[in-house]
């Protein structure tokens, strides 16, 4: 068969099914868009850190780095340079800084290095060639970051590092050209000595990047480890990217899972739309077979349908996805930006495009070739009138398989929660496999109910539902509703449980003080930046202040994890909340131990990785490696890579530093937090780099951060709901519209418009109600599964909530909206003239 004939056949058939094809295109496009947008969002976060890291380290092989922001003595630089087989070194000092300009403030990762050595690093370090040399108080940020703080040309801005505040000249034009790899990354590039002066760390470095001679990597690394002496980290130069991937893993996983659900809804949307064209395609296949077309020729004809549909839908999906990724799935760094320099630029990789397009093509192929599959299955039974003699499709295996899937899900829930994704897939399969039997059950029940009601409308509805020819489409519509409600309830339930847990965690940590004093900047929201304390003594003298305590905290790289270290004062009566401990009964002993000497509470994930158990001893790889004992196991406190809690005195010993990262102000009895807060701000000084927050303000900030981090889940859920309602309403509407001739026949037989309309609404309500109810039931189970997975696998502090309320609300909302939408075309269709039913 020639291509021209296949193309001609496609063209001549298109006119009659253009509307249905457009529905199908839209359905697949929505699925492709959801997949593509979520892929772009994930790769943008990963890519941002990766590009930044690669831009700095270039072809450097190793990094020797300090374990806190104070770093190590710069004298180490000359020792490293003298090592055999070391070809090049780049000294770096890296500090969290808060830039304050005329138009606002912004946290950045301030990187200082020697401009003379710029050519040795990556593409970003090379920009340092344009930064003025040693001694100049000039630095640069990407233009987008400068604009955020209202700086459009060279202008002095305030640079806050720790409690220090100083002025330096920001020249955005220095990075105006060739900043593709920088994009909107929150970094500042400056001469080494400027950062050292701004941070109050003269002659200190935080890391040295090293390039070894080819084939001497192992030797150079051994030499670096010898110099490090167990007090510095020696790692591959791209360690930041690896640490970030570990931190972002749970977020990526959950987003990927929910995106897959979205894509499934999109596919069902497409499938529904394609079902509208099935009668035409079946008729075409019959004709072609009678006329002598072989199966391969028929496949060629249908393959072009699928190809055109898939390509058009994929292109549209990519465009829609692009818009979605900007407007809805924007690469929101959220809480991960507290420990990693994450930019907000969108990064689109060829893998994301390929994955989305392949999914679109697959959906189109599956949908278009479905009638052919059915045709082949029926081949032996013949065509024409013989179809009526066919035995009903064998579906006895559906329920046992659904039961097996449910059993598998339950096994995963109880024994292997880390396989939650498999569990969700098997639960989805169980749902879909149950649906035919449940539909039969509901139709039978509706039939019984109809005999009680004795109404013509319900009678007609049941007749239509019993029709075998309507069955595939009925199942597809019910499945769409079921999957949508299932996804919605699962996602929303798990999100709510997580939000509750994170809020409880934030409240527990923040309630350690009535007023918090910390270095400014959003990147310091967890109070992880140490500073030189010059104000605690004076604050303690203020009226209304009972006590000022030193709180210490930071991030520490341990293996492949950047963990969060929290060190509340030893005198804190509640150093850890019961909700954070994995076993509530541990609280009294854990509290007593933390207030003692040399004990820590460790996140389960860290404990598992390092084979730690309660009561066991280990050495913490801090600045001064310290032997500690495990007091209890905890959640990850809302920080995906995990956290450890020890008292502030033990922290000072392990980090060899008395510097706090926050001052905890406790009010005298009866004092007002707002009033004392004002006093504290005055005492700290208006030009200070320190920020003063009341407990209420801080809790509000952390609730907002948690909510922002989970916002993508809410957005996905909303999109799933909208797509599902549109899919069901469109499919039902189109099905009703196609039935106009039959409705006209019924009018000829004397049925009134109202009866016909009510029968259509009855039919829709039964189908959509069934789908949504099944989805709600399975969704409640899905919520339990996902919540458990989040709690056990990722270690998040999850507080489970009852799935009944979200299940009921999603069921009612989607059913009501979809039935309401269907009622309109139903009303119009029921007004069809009786003459339409009479042939010429």
């Amino acid at each position: 068969m020639k291509l021209s004939s296949i193309v001609r056949l496609y063209r001549v058939r298109l006119r009659a099914r253009l509307t249905q094809e457009l529905f199908a295109v839209l359905g697949i496009a929505i699925g492709v868009a959801l997949l593509f947008a979520s892929q772009v969002a994930n790769t943008s976060l990963d890519g941002s850190v990766q590009r930044l890291s690669a831009g700095i380290v270039g072809d450097m092989r190793f990094q020797i780095a300090g374990r806190d922001a104070r770093g190590f003595d710069a004298a180490l630089l000359s020792q490293v340079s003298r090592l055999p087989h070391v070809q090049a070194i780049v000294p770096v000092i890296e500090q969290n800084a808060n830039l304050v300009g005329g138009g606002g403030e912004r946290s950045v990762d301030m990187i200082g290095t020697d401009p003379h050595l710029a050519h040795l690093g990556g593409s970003i370090a090379q920009h340092l060639g344009s930064v003025p040399p040693r001694g100049a108080r000039v630095f640069a940020v990407p233009p987008a970051i400068a604009q955020d703080i209202g700086v459009f040309s060279a202008r002095p801005v305030t640079v806050q590092i720790g409690s220090s505040s100083a002025t330096a000249l920001l020249v955005p034009q220095l990075l105006a050209r060739g900043t593709g790899s920088l994009g909107e990354s929150p970094v500042a590039l400056a001469p080494l000595d400027l950062v050292q002066r701004l941070a109050g760390l003269p002659n200190r470095l935080t890391s040295i990047y090293v390039r070894s001679a080819p084939r001497f990597d192992r030797l150079v690394k051994a030499e670096l480890e010898r110099l490090a002496g167990g007090r510095l980290n020696v790692r591959s130069a791209d360690i930041t990217t690896r640490l970030f991937r570990r931190a972002a893993g749970p977020v990526d996983q959950s987003t990927g899972l929910f995106s897959a659900l979205s894509a499934l809804v999109g596919f069902l949307f497409a499938f529904n739309a394609l079902m509208l064209t099935v009668p035409q395609r079946r008729s075409l296949i019959e004709d072609l077979r009678l006329d002598g077309y072989t199966r391969s020729m028929i496949v060629q004809v249908l393959a072009l349908d699928a190809l055109v549909l898939g390509v058009v839908a994929s292109v549209l999906g990519l465009l829609l996805g692009d818009v979605l990724s900007v407007a809805v799935f924007s690469a929101n760094p959220g809480y991960l930006s507290f420990a990693f320099p994450i930019g907000e630029q969108r990064i689109v990789t060829w893998q994301s495009v390929t994955f989305a397009v392949l999914s679109g093509m697959l959906a189109a192929g599956a949908g278009v070739l479905t009638p052919l599959r059915a045709e082949i299955a029926e081949r032996r039974a013949g065509l024409l009138q013989l179809r009526a003699r066919q035995s009903r499709p064998q579906s006895w295996w559906l329920l046992p398989t659904a039961g097996a899937c449910l059993a598998g899900t339950t096994f995963i829930l109880v024994a292997e929660p880390q396989a939650a994704i498999v569990g969700v897939v098997s639960l989805t399969l169980a749902l879909l496999l149950c649906l035919p039997a449940l539909l039969d059950l509901v139709i039978r029940a509706s039939g019984r109910l109809q005999t009680l009601l004795s109404g013509a409308a319900s009678y007609l509805a049941v007749i239509e539902l019993r029709s075998r020819s309507n069955r595939p489409r009925s199942l597809a519509i019910a499945a769409t509703g079921a999957i949508a409600v299932f996804g919605s309830v699962s996602i929303q339930g798990a999100r709510d449980s997580l939000q509750r847990g994170l809020d409880a965690s934030a409240r527990a940590i923040d309630s350690g003080a009535d007023i918090w004093v910390t270095p400014a900047g959003t990147a310091n929201s967890l109070a992880t930046m140490p500073f030189v304390d010059r104000v605690s003594a004076s604050l303690a003298q203020l009226p209304g202040v009972r006590e000022v305590r030193l709180y210490r905290s930071s991030f520490l790289d341990w293996g492949s994890r950047r963990i969060w270290v929290l060190a509340p004062p030893r005198t804190d009566s509640h150093p850890i909340a019961a909700s954070q401990l994995l076993h509530d009964g541990d609280l009294p002993s854990a509290t007593a131990r933390l207030r003692g000497h040399g004990w820590v509470v460790v996140s389960q994930a860290i404990a598992s990785e390092h084979h730690l158990h309660t009561g066991g001893t280990f050495t913490l790889p801090s600045t001064e490696p310290t032997s500690l004992r495990v007091a209890a196991l905890s959640t990850n406190m809302g920080w995906p890579p995990g956290a450890i809690v020890l008292n502030a005195d033990d922290y000072a010993r392990a980090w060899a530093s008395e510097q706090p990262s926050a001052l905890q102000v406790e009010l005298a009895p009866g004092a007002s937090a707002v009033a004392v807060g004002r006093e504290v701000k005055q005492a700290v000084g208006t030009g200070s780099a320190l920020r003063v927050e009341t407990l209420a303000e801080r809790v509000r900030l952390h609730y907002g951060t948690a909510s922002q981090g989970l916002s993508r889940l809410t957005q996905i859920r909303t999109l799933v709901l909208i797509a599902a309602v549109l899919a069901m309403a469109a499919a039902m509407g189109a099905m009703i519209w196609q039935r106009r001739v039959r409705l006209a026949d019924m009018k000829v037989d004397g049925f009134s418009r109202l009866v016909l309309w009510r029968s259509l609404v009855w039919e829709s309500a039964i189908l959509l109600g069934l789908g949504c109810a099944v989805g709600a039931a399975f969704g409640a189970y899905g919520q339990v599964l996902l919540s458990r997975a989040l709690s056990v696998v990722t270690g998040f502090p999850v507080i489970e909530s009852s799935p009944l309320a979200p299940a009921a609300s999603s069921f009612l909302l989607i059913t009501a909206v979809a039935v309401g939408m269907v009622a309109v075309p139903g009303y119009v269709a029921a007004r069809v003239r009786p003459a339409v039913g009479l042939p010429e």
């Binding site: 004939s5 001609r8 298109l14 006329d291 002598g292 009138q385």
Partner: protein
């Protein structure tokens, strides 16, 4: 040309006696001969046509076309047989909606290796012969029932088959238009020396045949026809 030898096709019925749709039918049709199979609904007419079209396999017996047994052809061979040697006209007028009469008629030709343009060119004389020259650019929905059936005949004859099977071709038409269509069908086939097996329960349709057979409970009985529209003798 066409020879049916003791054809048998039974359909099993759950918990019942099998339906004997075709039960030992033998028949010879000469080249260019017009044969009508007359019988009521459910008598096995369509099953017999499907056996001849290699859309069903017989339980016993064989179907020979020019001496070649087509009853046991593998699927691709059976499809080639239908494409090149057979034309099939049905009662249901399944034209492609939205497509013109020309494209609908050329559908079968497009399945050969001649390409779309050549297929559309070749079908025009046949459409004109069938009186559709002026209507060839009209879409399927714009054609009357009689015109639609003529499009189907054009499609069936487009690959110049040896044998044409017609399954109740006038079932959707009134008597006047049905007669016109049958006349055209008979003339066109006679001009091309195409053998015709017509299945019908319409006595008028049977009157166009050279020979008429009655089919009852799957068995074939020859009748006589006076070519004026009435069947003279039964059994």
């Amino acid at each position: 040309m066409l020879e049916l030898r003791e054809l048998v096709k039974h359909f099993p019925v759950p918990a019942g006696t099998p339906v004997r749709a075709v039960d030992g039918v033998s028949l010879n049709v000469a080249g260019g001969e017009f044969v009508a199979l007359y019988g009521p609904s459910g008598s096995g007419k369509t099953t017999l046509l499907m056996l001849i079209a290699a859309l069903l396999r017989p339980d016993a017996g064989s179907v020979l076309l020019d001496g070649r047994d087509i009853s046991s052809l593998p699927d691709p061979e059976a499809a080639r047989y239908r494409l090149h040697d057979l034309g099939f006209v049905r009662q249901t007028l399944n034209l492609m909606p939205g497509a013109t009469a020309l494209d609908n008629a050329a559908l079968k030709l497009m399945g050969t290796d001649i390409g779309a343009r050549e297929a559309r060119r070749r079908i025009v004389p046949l459409l004109e012969r069938l009186g559709l020259g002026e209507r060839r650019s009209h879409r399927a929905e714009q054609l009357s029932m009689g015109e639609r059936q003529r499009v189907m005949i054009a499609r069936a004859l487009s690959t110049e088959p040896k044998l044409l099977l017609a399954d109740e071709p006038t079932g959707s038409l009134d008597s006047t238009r049905g007669r016109e269509v049958l006349e055209l069908l008979a003339q066109s086939c006679r001009e091309r020396r195409v053998s015709v097996v017509l299945v019908t329960h319409d006595p008028q349709a049977a009157s166009f045949a050279d020979r008429v057979f009655a089919l009852r409970d799957g068995r074939l009985v020859e009748r006589e026809s006076d070519r004026t529209g009435a069947v003279l003798k039964v059994g």
